[in-house]
Symmetry: C2
Subunit: 200 residues, 2 copies
């Protein structure tokens, strides 16, 4: 079997933020490669009929509480950001720009963008903030801004989102091993088991 | 802290069926008491805006696949029943009748009703089937049929569902330790941790 696990996420998904270390640990300990694939949840929600968690009765209050609880449990720095959610298209395009140069650099930027939003309450919906995060990772801010308007990375962002939906991705985080999908940060133990065993 | 965990479920919830052994194991190993509380998901979905999983685009296909996968992984006998879902009010009322006599007998009946539906494809939406399941557990079938129409158990069923929604329950399975809620069978490890540590 392919020892590749695809990690689909939206940059404004708290559950994806909490899964970052976990999926990399699972991949490392099972000898798998983890590919990070930022997508835009808006189109995925449209395709699946899903709605934003925080606006839903009962479930919204639960998820707010649950994110705080996960932060305390894991020790991962977390504070509910304001505004929430934000458009993540600029961050996703910069990711694909960096990924075209060096996938490891793209992951480093993604971690920094997640932390900017969920640990430091910086509005990654703003282009200038995303460019600044890229700069803090050692990349050229002007080049990052240019990447946000580059047709190649615009197209890559849209194509990856469309491809994800076509594969059945409807939420964030969503993991795929080949055609086998696993939804949610709670499913990391099952992802590990699937990678170790080859599936069942 | 109270060493009680409340297990809210609807009899036609596959994820609840898969959680039955797990929550009892967690309770036993942490010295907690597990109270089973059947509710009706219909009113809970109405309050939360949730919809039936299987009718949702993408998520419906995922959940069907996921239940099969959980069955193979856990070894718990499972076949997607037809019809699905079914009204579970008769089963819930019989549960409350038995619970008023002997909580352990109510749990035994609940296990049998889950198995009838998810392992043996028996339509527990029909009163006669529910009465037969009760009889197989050693109870009087006529008394079970009478309990389904008894105002006391009708009221108990409605009151427990209303109380659950008031506490924030919006899905199945849903676990509560005091006022702390945990949604989904994937959260059993966190329920265990909370019972062991007293929370965080």
């Amino acid at each position: 079997m392919s020892k590749i696990v695809d990690f689909y996420f939206d940059f404004s998904s708290p559950y994806a933020y909490f899964a970052v270390d976990g999926i990399e640990q699972v991949a490392a300990e099972t000898g798998a490669t983890c590919r990070w694939i930022p997508i835009l949840l808006g189109p995925a929600f449209k395709a699946s009929g899903n709605q934003l968690l925080v606006t839903q009765p009962l479930k919204g209050a639960y998820s707010r509480h649950d994110w705080d609880r996960l932060g305390r449990m894991t020790g991962i720095p977390y504070a509910f950001p304001d505004p929430f959610p934000v458009a993540t298209i600029a961050a996703a395009r910069v990711f694909w720009w960096l990924d075209s140069l060096d996938p490891a650099a793209a992951k480093g930027f993604a971690r920094a963008a997640f932390a900017a939003y969920f640990a430091h309450n910086r509005n990654i919906g703003e282009k200038s903030v995303v460019a600044d995060v890229a700069a803090q990772c050692g990349h050229d801010a002007a080049a990052a801004l240019a990447a946000m308007d580059d047709p190649a990375f615009k197209a890559r962002c849209k194509d990856e989102t469309d491809a994800a939906i076509a594969k059945g991705v409807f939420g964030s985080p969503f993991f795929m091993i080949g055609d086998e999908g696993f939804w949610g940060s709670d499913r990391l133990p099952m992802v590990r088991r699937w990678l170790e065993s080859g599936g069942w």
